[in-house]
C-alpha cells in the first residue's frame, strides 16, 4: 500500500493537535506552560486532545485559561477533543467552563 509521493507534499493541515498529558499536577505546571507556549501563536486551529487527563491542578486549568484567552485575543481558534471528566469537572468547579469553551463541547 504505497502512497503517492504527492500526498507528502500536501499543504500543512489546518489543524494542529496538542495532546494533554494525563497528569497535570502543579509539579508539571512549568513543563505544561512550555508545551502550551509552543502552540499559542500557531495560526492553525489547535485541537486540545484532553481525553487522558486524569489528574489536574488549578495551576494547569489557569494555564489553559491563559492559553485560550491569548489565542482568542489574537483571533485564533482553539477546540477540544474528548475532554476527560476530570478536566470537565475541574473547569466547572472553578467556574471557567465558559472561558475554556468547554461548556458547548459535546461528549
Amino acid at each position: 500500500m504505497s502512497k503517492s509521493p504527492k500526498t507528502a507534499t500536501k499543504p500543512a493541515p489546518r489543524r494542529g493537535v496538542l495532546k494533554l498529558p494525563a497528569d497535570l499536577g502543579v509539579e508539571h505546571a512549568r513543563d505544561f506552560q512550555e508545551k502550551l507556549a509552543g502552540r499559542v501563536e500557531d495560526a492553525r486551529t489547535i485541537v486540545l486532545d484532553a481525553r487522558e487527563v486524569s489528574r489536574i491542578h488549578t495551576a494547569a486549568i489557569q494555564l489553559l485559561c491563559i492559553f485560550c484567552q491569548d489565542r482568542r485575543n489574537a483571533g485564533r481558534q482553539t477546540q477540544w477533543r474528548q475532554p476527560s471528566d476530570t478536566l470537565r469537572s475541574a473547569a466547572s468547579l472553578l467556574g471557567v467552563s465558559t472561558l475554556l469553551e468547554l461548556a458547548r463541547e459535546g461528549a
Partner: protein, 704 residues
C-alpha cells in the same frame, strides 16, 4: 506519560481516615455530656471534616455524604448551638461504626452495609431536624444571645495570593469541598490573568466569588479554608436576604466594620476573638463584610490553637508503607545470612595470618546486629493501637449487660511488632468481652459481696526479656471451679475432683467449652477460649490463667516481640538440618532402654520422671531415610505446646541460633508440620518445625 495511579493516594486517604475514626471514637468516649470539652469536640469535628474532604476529593460519595451529616451535627455542638447529650454521643458512635464499614467497603471494593448506614443517617437527620429552640444556652452570660439558625447561604470571596499554589494548596480541592456543603455557584475572576509568555506557571492569578446555598454554619466554611487562611483574602458573608430576615437571629449576627474592600488576610477567621458588636441594624442594612453566627461559645477562637497544636505534633514522623519496611527487613535478613556465611567461611582460616579480616568480620557482625535491631524497631508499634479499641468495647458491652465497669490500661507504650499487634487484637477482644460477660458481676451482686458496684478490668502490657506480656485481669467473681468441672464432665472430658486448680482452668481452653448458662451475643457462642489459645500459639505465644473465687481472674499472654526472627535450636536428622523453636523445647536427653515403652498400637512412649511422653520420629514425618531409628542412638527433644508434650527423636543437636524466618507458604506452599524456612550460615536451607502441629499430631497418634 503513564496514567496516574490514583489508588496510591487512596491508601493514604484510607490510612488517615481510619486513624481519624479512631480519634473520633476515643474523643466521643471521653466526651462528658455534663461538661463537654471544647477541645475534644473540636478534635472530633476536625477528624470528621478531614474524612469528608478526602472522601469528596477521591470520589467516595457515600462516605462524603454520610460524613456531611455527622459533621453538621458536630459543628452545631462545637459552636455551642447544640448541647451534647448521651443520645447524640450514642448516635455519633454508631456513625463512626458506619463510616468505618463504608470506608472498608470503599477500600476493599466490597458491598457496603447500606441498610445500617441509611438507618443511622436517618437518626442523624432526625437529630439535626430537632428544633433549635429546644437548645439551651450553655452559659448564662450568653443567655441574651439567642441561638441563630444557619442562614440559607453564604457569599464567599476567595482571592488567593499568588504563592498559594507553591504552598501545595489547590483552590480546586477547596471549592470541591465547599460543594459538599451545598450547591455552589462559582464565578471566576480572570481579570488578573497575564499573557502566557509572561505568566509564572506556579503563581495563582485567578480569584473566585462563590455563592454557596447551604444550610451550614460559617465555621464549616471557614474550616474548608483553614489551610489557606494566610495565603488568601477571604470573606464569608450571608447571602442577600438572609440577614434581612426578621428573626431574633439578627441579634447574634455580627457585622465587622469594613468598607467591603480589601481585607487583611486571615482577619475573617480571627474575628470571633474580637468582641462582637451587637449591632443588628448594621448587619441588616449595610453590607457586612463578615458575619459570624454566635451560639454562646467562641468556637472558632477555641479551635485555632488546637489546630496549630495538632499541626505542630505532626513534624516528627513520616508515613511509610509496610511493604517498604518489610522489604528492608528482608534485605537485612539477607545481610545477616551473608554475614553468617562469611563468618563460617573464615573459620577455616588462620586467625593469626588473617587478623585484619577477623577484626573486620567482627565489626560487620556488630554492625549487622545493630542494623537489624534498628530496622526491626521501625515495625514496632505501641500496644496502644490495640488497647485503644477497648474503651469502646467495654462501654458498649457494659451498657448492654447493665454492668458498671471501668477499664484500666497500663503500659500502652510498650512496643510490639506490627504483625503481632494485628493478630493479637481479636483474641484480646475476646478475653475482654469474656471478662465483662462472665467475670464482672452485676452491680447488685457486687454490692452484696461487699465489693464496689463498679467492676474493674485491667489491661496491661510490659516487656519481659525478649517477650511482651499482656495481662487481662478483672476483679469479678473468678472462675467457677465446680461449674467448669461439671461442664467438662458433660462434654465427656476426663476430670477428677482432685485436679489442681491450674488444671481445671486449662479445661476452658477445650474446644467448644463454654459455661455461660445462656448463650448471649456477647460471648458464649461456643467458639471461645480454644480459639483464643490457638491464635496465641500461632504467634508462638503462650497463655496462662489464674483465678481466685470471688476476687477475679487473670489471664497472662506471653508473646514474642517479633515474628520475623526466631530463637531456634538446630537439630540434625539424617543429612538434614531442622530448626526447632526454642520456646517449645523443654529439655533434651538420650533415653535409656528402661525409659522406653512400646504400646500395643506400635506407638512408643518415653517415661520422663512421672509421666509418659509419646515418641515421635521426625524422620518419618519428614521422609528422611538415613536417620537414626533407635532412640538410644539418638537424642530426644521434648517439645511442649498447648499443655501437651511429645518427645521428638533427632540424630544430633547442632546448636542454638537466631534465624530469620522466611515464609514457605508465600514462596512455595504450605508444608505439613513446617512453619517456615531459613537460610543457614553455610547457605543451606533449613526447615523450621511447626512444634504445635507436631505435638498435636503426636498426641493424636498416640491416643489412637
Amino acid at each position: 506519560m503513564p496514567p496516574i495511579d490514583i489508588t496510591r493516594f487512596h491508601q493514604t486517604f484510607f490510612d488517615e481516615s481510619f486513624e481519624g475514626l479512631d480519634v473520633m471514637e476515643s474523643g466521643l468516649l471521653r466526651l462528658d455530656p455534663d461538661a463537654p470539652d471544647d477541645e475534644t469536640i473540636n478534635a472530633i469535628f476536625r477528624a470528621a471534616h478531614s474524612i469528608k474532604g478526602g472522601a469528596g476529593t477521591f470520589g467516595f460519595a457515600t462516605v462524603a455524604e454520610f460524613t456531611h451529616l455527622l459533621e453538621t451535627l458536630l459543628d452545631q455542638m462545637r459552636s455551642g448551638n447544640r448541647p451534647v447529650t448521651c443520645k447524640d454521643v450514642d448516635v455519633l458512635l454508631r456513625s463512626v461504626d458506619v463510616l468505618r464499614s463504608l470506608l472498608t467497603a470503599a477500600r476493599d471494593g466490597s458491598e457496603a452495609d447500606t441498610a445500617t448506614a441509611q438507618m443511622v443517617s436517618e437518626e442523624l437527620g432526625a437529630l439535626l431536624a430537632a428544633p433549635a429552640a429546644t437548645v439551651e444556652a450553655p452559659a448564662p452570660a450568653q443567655a441574651d444571645a439567642p441561638v441563630a439558625a444557619a442562614p440559607r447561604g453564604w457569599r464567599i470571596e476567595f482571592i488567593p495570593k499568588p504563592e498559594l499554589f507553591a504552598s501545595g494548596n489547590d483552590p480546586l480541592r477547596i471549592i470541591r469541598e465547599l460543594t459538599l456543603l451545598g450547591r455552589a455557584e462559582v464565578i471566576c475572576d480572570t481579570d488578573a490573568l497575564p499573557m502566557l509568555t509572561e505568566a509564572m506557571p506556579e503563581a495563582c492569578y485567578l480569584s473566585w466569588r462563590i455563592d454557596l446555598h447551604a444550610d451550614c454554619g460559617r465555621d464549616a466554611i471557614a474550616d474548608v479554608f483553614a489551610w489557606v487562611e494566610d495565603e488568601c483574602d477571604l470573606s464569608i458573608e450571608p447571602l442577600d436576604g438572609d440577614v434581612a430576615e426578621p428573626t431574633v437571629d439578627a441579634a447574634a449576627v455580627t457585622g465587622t466594620a469594613s468598607d467591603g474592600g480589601e481585607q487583611a488576610p486571615g482577619a475573617d477567621v480571627d474575628t470571633p476573638s474580637t468582641p462582637p458588636a451587637q449591632d443588628p441594624p448594621a448587619a441588616a442594612s449595610g453590607k457586612p463584610e463578615l458575619t459570624v453566627i454566635k451560639g454562646g461559645r467562641p468556637a472558632v477562637a477555641a479551635s485555632r490553637p488546637a489546630t496549630s497544636a495538632e499541626r505542630s505534633g505532626e513534624g516528627g514522623s513520616i508515613r511509610v508503607s509496610t511493604e517498604k519496611i518489610d522489604a528492608l527487613i528482608n534485605l537485612v535478613g539477607e545481610l545477616v545470612i551473608t554475614q553468617a556465611m562469611l563468618q563460617q567461611t573464615a573459620q577455616h582460616l588462620d586467625p593469626v595470618t588473617h587478623e585484619e579480616l577477623f577484626n573486620g568480620l567482627n565489626q560487620l557482625n556488630r554492625n549487622t546486629r545493630v542494623l537489624q535491631e534498628a530496622v526491626m524497631s521501625t515495625r514496632m508499634l505501641p500496644v496502644e493501637f490495640v488497647f485503644s479499641r477497648f474503651p469502646r468495647v467495654v462501654r458498649d458491652l457494659a451498657s448492654k449487660l447493665g454492668k458498671q465497669v471501668q477499664l484500666q490500661t497500663v503500659g500502652e507504650k510498650t512496643e510490639l511488632d506490627k504483625s503481632v499487634i494485628e493478630r493479637i487484637a481479636d483474641p484480646l477482644t475476646h478475653l475482654v468481652r469474656n471478662s465483662l460477660d462472665h467475670g464482672i458481676e452485676s452491680p447488685e451482686r457486687r454490692t452484696a459481696a461487699g465489693k464496689p458496684a463498679t467492676g474493674t478490668i485491667r489491661l496491661s502490657a510490659s516487656h519481659q526479656g525478649g517477650h511482651i506480656v499482656i495481662e487481662v485481669s478483672d476483679d469479678g467473681a473468678g472462675l467457677d471451679r465446680e461449674r467448669i468441672l461439671s461442664k467438662a464432665r458433660e462434654r465427656g472430658i476426663a476430670t477428677s475432683d482432685g485436679m489442681a486448680d491450674e488444671d481445671v482452668w486449662q479445661l476452658i481452653f477445650e474446644p467448644g467449652f463454654s459455661t455461660a448458662e445462656q448463650i448471649t451475643d456477647v460471648s458464649g457462642r461456643g467458639v471461645g477460649m480454644d480459639v483464643v489459645k490457638r491464635n496465641i500459639e500461632a504467634l508462638s505465644g503462650s497463655i496462662e490463667i489464674s483465678s481466685e473465687s470471688g476476687r477475679g481472674s487473670r489471664i497472662l499472654i506471653r508473646l514474642p516481640l517479633t515474628l520475623a526472627i526466631l530463637d531456634g535450636m538446630s537439630v540434625r536428622i539424617g543429612g538434614e538440618i531442622f530448626i526447632v523453636p526454642l520456646n517449645n523445647v523443654i529439655e533434651s536427653l538420650q533415653p535409656q532402654a528402661e525409659q522406653l515403652k512400646s504400646l500395643v498400637n506400635q506407638a512408643q512412649v518415653i517415661r520422663l520422671r512421672a509421666e509418659y511422653v509419646p515418641l515421635v520420629r521426625l524422620q518419618e514425618l519428614f521422609g528422611v531415610h538415613d536417620a537414626v531409628r533407635d532412640p538410644q542412638q539418638g537424642i530426644v527433644v521434648v517439645l511442649e505446646s498447648g499443655g501437651r508434650k511429645i518427645a521428638a527423636l533427632v540424630d544430633e543437636l547442632v546448636g542454638q541460633q537466631q534465624v530469620v524466618i522466611k515464609s514457605l507458604e508465600s514462596n512455595y506452599r504450605r508444608v505439613p508440620c513446617v512453619s517456615g524456612a531459613t537460610i543457614l550460615g553455610n547457605g543451606q536451607v533449613a526447615l523450621i518445625i511447626d512444634a504445635a502441629e507436631i505435638v498435636r499430631q503426636g498426641a493424636r497418634a498416640n491416643a489412637a
